[in-house]
Amino acid sequence: MKELLVIILASVFVNNYVLQKFLGICPFLGVSKKLDQATGMGIAVTFVMLVATAVTWPIQTYVLESLEIEYMQTIVFILVIAALVQFVEIVLKKYMPSLHKALGVYLPLITTNCAVLGVTINNVKDEYGFAQSMASSLGCGLGFLLAMVLFSGVRSRVDNSASIPESFKGIPSTLLAASIVSMAFFGFSGVIDNLFA
């Protein structure tokens, strides 16, 4: 249990997918303008990461590894994730329309989100078991959500600032703000190890 907690906390704060590993940058910069959109996207990504890990882990263990065709991993995983996102969208539309209304907009975007594919591949690379993989996905998703929510707050200030030089307006100033938020996350490195030492 303690091990799982360490995995979750480490992937939320220390190895944050967006701010330290640069995965899922497109939605991080694109959908972080408003707090409610940022939250919706973060929750949708967390949800898809959990479902994708729950499906890809058994495929990797019982199909790819037992048949010794691990080299098919990239093709199989991206197809599974793409099909899964469509499937989740159809199911949500039919049985949970309120949830679909909240998350539906973000789901098609997630198919080619590198954070989702990244977390499933990294789980295999780190040789995690099923529970550990799920914990790591939960942590990465929550880390993404945290980064989105924090950054949407920062952006509402930066975007409304009038004193930005002409060439830095728009994308460059957003990137510099992201750089500072990323620096703030440096403060967490080492905290998790000491917490459970």
């Binding site: 080299y71 907009v105 994308i171 460059p172 957003t174």
Partner: protein
């Protein structure tokens, strides 16, 4: 269209990284050293050229409704080929790139060129477009990698630069430095071209070449109508 201009536009005028702001994840993640940046750029360029050729050759066979999944399968196939080749012949680069090599599959430059260019043009033009865009991507990554390695680690391609190696700004090779250098380089491109090249001031879906097909557009417009 002039064959040469098809190739050259990807290098500067429509540089996928600095002008179109696509493929931001690898641009930030693997540019902490020049060798990783070059390895990533060339691998992605190889995938882009091959996928553009195949998709262009199959453009009349692939049914319109399943074209995006078909493109993804073609791209994933070539990524797997590159992975196996690097694993066999350049194992050190394979280790250095790690997960990011597999993530070329979801690099939006590649899917974007398949949808915007290869599905509408003949094989030769598509190959040239892939070559230009791929080299433009490599060039951008190389510039990022050079700035970050020279000032962050005081070296170039792993060789120490005399005089600089004692005055390094080590944060440039770490995560915040990636965002910072990228932001400053885009601002410099903005300044040089007086903002002409960079009409797009926003990130997000509207800038993505697969915007019209990924379903987001219609969904959000539906949301807006409600």
């Amino acid at each position: 269209m002039n064959k040469l201009s098809i190739m050259l536009k990807g290098l500067i005028k429509e540089n996928p990284v600095f002008v179109l702001v696509l493929g931001t994840c690898p641009t930030l993640a693997v540019t902490d050293s020049v060798s990783r940046a070059l390895g990533m750029g060339l691998s992605a360029a190889a995938v882009l050229i091959c996928s553009n050729i195949v998709i262009s050759a199959l453009r009349n066979i692939i049914p319109d409704k399943v074209r995006i999944p078909s493109y993804i399968v073609v791209i994933a196939g070539f990524v797997t080929v590159i992975q196996m080749l690097l694993h066999a012949y350049l194992p050190s680069l394979y280790e250095a790139l790690g997960t990011y090599l597999a993530l070329i599959v979801v690099n939006c430059i590649i899917l974007g060129r398949a949808e915007m260019f290869a599905s509408k043009h003949n094989v030769v033009d598509s190959a040239l477009d892939g070559l230009g865009m791929g080299l433009g991507f490599t060039l951008a990554l190389f510039m990022m990698g050079t700035v970050r390695e020279v000032f962050g680690a005081g070296s170039f391609f792993g060789y120490e630069i005399p005089g600089l190696s004692h005055y390094t700004v080590s944060i440039l090779t770490q995560a915040p430095g990636g965002f910072m250098v990228f932001g400053i380089l885009i601002a410099v491109v903005n300044k040089i071209t007086k903002g002409k090249a960079l009409k797009k001031k926003e990130f997000g879906c509207a800038g993505c070449p697969s915007y019209a097909v990924c379903g987001k557009k219609t969904e959000t417009e539906k949301e807006a109508d409600r």
